[in-house]
Symmetry: C4
Subunit: 280 residues, 4 copies
């Protein structure tokens, strides 16, 4: 869909997932630390969240495929009638298909089935690789700036694929998760940037052969990276701060209720002491 909306849609998907991950992973790490003390229900919640994420991914991929196929000027599931029909839409459908597979892998990994460790991360890495792979052969024979701005997208896509592949072997590495979140945000905002440059909303077309524009766009990509890491850093801090505040208030409440029921059961008291040790 070669217009602004066609870039805003996938951009929003990636931005949404990037932001969501930048909140989810710090939260999960904090929960994991606390799990030793109490609140055995939270890890279950954490598993459920991953399951829902997988289902949403499958749903989004399905919506994406349907949109690409059945927009008014789409191929309507026809592939060949003398010549290939709307291959661009078919390629986009293929990209969505692999994100759908990644969603299915997420769901399977959360199921009690004996799925190989790391399948979910591998499927995501593959989806990113396929996206980059199809884009790579996508952008030949276009104006210089158009090619360049898409190549920069590939830097985010392939870096994301590589860092996610590392997660297959180094699971639960906080840093790799934050890198993945940041690169998803970069991809999201860069899709918007491509939309703004190639289909400017104010109608003033960019000179697609200007060397100055290419230099600016390269530098602008670096700024997107800086902003993405800033956003992830802020979310990380907010999550950490909030859970700390909440944890303290909760502890205070527990201590009050403890005083009421005190002198009754020494074993529960021990457990609580142990918990507050681990939380401090």
């Amino acid at each position: 869909m070669a217009n602004f909306k066609g870039h805003a849609l996938p951009g929003s998907f990636f931005l949404l997932f990037g932001l969501w991950w930048s909140v989810k992973y710090p939260l999960q790490h904090i929960w994991k630390k606390r799990q030793h003390g109490r609140r055995q229900d939270l890890p279950l919640l954490s598993n459920k969240i991953d399951l829902i994420e997988g289902i949403i991914k499958v749903f989004f991929a399905f919506v994406g495929i349907m949109a690409e196929q059945f927009v008014p000027d789409g191929p309507h599931a026809h592939l060949y009638n003398g010549d290939w029909v709307k291959l661009m839409n078919w390629q986009h459908s293929t990209m969505y298909l692999f994100y759908g597979i990644s969603g299915i892998a997420d769901v399977l990994s959360m199921s009690p089935l004996p799925v190989p460790a790391g399948l979910d991360r591998f499927a995501l890495s593959l989806a990113l690789f396929i996206e980059g792979f199809l884009f790579y052969f996508h952008v030949h024979n276009r104006p210089a700036l158009d090619q360049h701005i898409h190549s920069l997208l590939l830097v985010a896509v392939f870096s994301g694929s590589a860092s996610t592949m590392l997660e297959v072997f180094m699971r639960d590495n906080s840093l790799l998760e934050l890198i993945r979140s940041s690169l998803a945000i970069v991809q999201g905002t860069w899709f918007y940037q491509i939309g703004f440059v190639l289909f400017p909303l104010n109608g003033e077309d960019w000179d697609l052969e200007s060397h100055g524009n290419i230099m600016f766009v390269t530098m602008c990509f670096c700024w997107h990276i800086a902003v993405a890491f800033l956003i992830v850093g802020i979310n990380y801090t907010v999550v950490w701060w909030t859970t700390k505040k909440f944890g303290e208030r909760h502890k205070a409440n527990t201590e009050i209720s403890l005083r009421k029921t005190t002198y009754t059961d020494s074993s529960s008291q021990k457990a609580l002491l142990q918990e507050s040790d681990e939380e401090s």
Copy 2:
């Protein structure tokens, strides 16, 4: 052998090995889990299977070399008579040679000799690398679609070589084994696809310079990947399901025979309890 059969032959080899691996590895992992309880004879069987696989590999490689050398229009073991004789066939023979070496490495690794750990995987990775390496210099000066469709083969070949190299250092990683199986299937089906495109059975030649054909073929390669992972996933599930069913029936049988011989030997009873603990 530049015809349909010349692509179907290696395609069938890779497809066969890919399918076989996608059954063998889940089976071996399930056996390994059960090994702790009982059935000490199965790992021995598992070793024997690997040995037979190596011997079959050597045999196939030998057949491949002989076929390339002694087909009617082959070089018949002549390399140089004023000019190089049928270098294409010699290159294919070289590829088969390295798969033969990989088979020998498999056999040696199963032998009681003190072979360095990971030699079998390294030899397979090398064979894939040599295949890709020779293909890489193979496809210059050909029409655009011919070059492109062979380049896509290289993606599967070099990915396979890289993932097998990882197995040298991360042995018995379920995911890497499934990736290798999938990439072997992709290679197999893609050899068939090359055959269908370059030597169409219905006689309608493809336009080898059309950009649309190149775009379709790129996307089609992604579909092959998706199908390969689907096949491996199905095989994995079937194996897991079957062994579970078989395991339960077997356990039921054992429990019946146990009741008959009960009250006789308390130590054997303990062993059986232990076994069912580990199986559940």
Copy 3:
């Protein structure tokens, strides 16, 4: 800043950091070894040094950005007025920005906040990557020697980025730290070399298209590498030798003071014996 000073300034920064690291890391490793015995105050000092290093990095990055923006022929914070304003200076500012971010990551990693492990190394690796990334698109459409001499800089920059990325996962690896120090020195001296070649101080311009000059410059880059490793090796030896001498004199002093206070406390004696065991 396309003149000699514009290359001497960043060159000096990198040279300074390379030399400093080649002293700091051996020192930290020696301190860590001794820490088991005594001198619990030194690790604290070591942490403070890292903190100060981070603050200096932020300060240098700030100075660099200001210099690039507000030199007489700089953009003075204007980005666009009909056309892009002084993009070269903006690109350099962007490079400094990421080194500033790396400095902030250093400070955060030394703070008591729950920062993900390896963030400081990742931020440094990213800063090096961004530097190389911007330089890569920087040097098109220039004379052959100019392009080549900048490409060689990229070898040092990307190798530094890769080796620093490895440090994220292999922390406190002496060798990787020495490699990073050496590559920083290489980058520093090579910036000077670029300055000498492109803006010769004696006024005799180099022939920027000569193949001989390109061959010499390539070889000269290797000499820079050899010299950088030599410098790092000498610093390593001097640090090791000095701390050994100092450690022995210190031990001798302690033994003298021990004799004076002898026969008084047997537990302190034990601690000292233990310490000298660990130091020998």
Copy 4:
């Protein structure tokens, strides 16, 4: 030195080292296994061998530099007199220099100094990288076959550099040591092959632009790889077989002398029993 001897000299060096390593490493692994039982003098010998190897490397590098500088048509240590003097010889000298540095690193690693772990492997990897790096810019503007045959050398050189770099982090990995040995042999025999092709001894010049020759040479490189692995495999087997035979005869001798001195000391008997357990 653009003649047959100029390729035979470095070829012989690499061949020699490759063959030597293919004997040394299996021997060291066998010694290490036995070390637990007895013969504490052998590891010392093993260290001495590494030391001597380092010294020989330094000596060879020195000879190489001197030969390149002071052959009749060499630069005689002159670098610039109006134009660059014999840059080819200077580049070769630079290559030898880094192998000399690698020799020094070997010697230092065997010394009692606190050298960072893996320095010897890193220095060797760097020497190989520098060799490949200089060759890469060495072969422009030459006939097609000349370029191609040197590019193939680079495959062996950079693979060797990469596998040696892996050894920095995975020390004493039998397989990596065998790969390094094989790649050194490949490099050695390929230098000879380059000599045979570019400066044929029988005087019949090869057509340097023929596509057939390029195809043959590519395939021939694969044969060199196969032969190198065969040689390393044979050496490995011979070493293993010989030490086993020797070990058995030695054990038999010990048992005879044991019988003579029997009934005398029960503690020495125990030690011997323990030893034979570990050897079997």
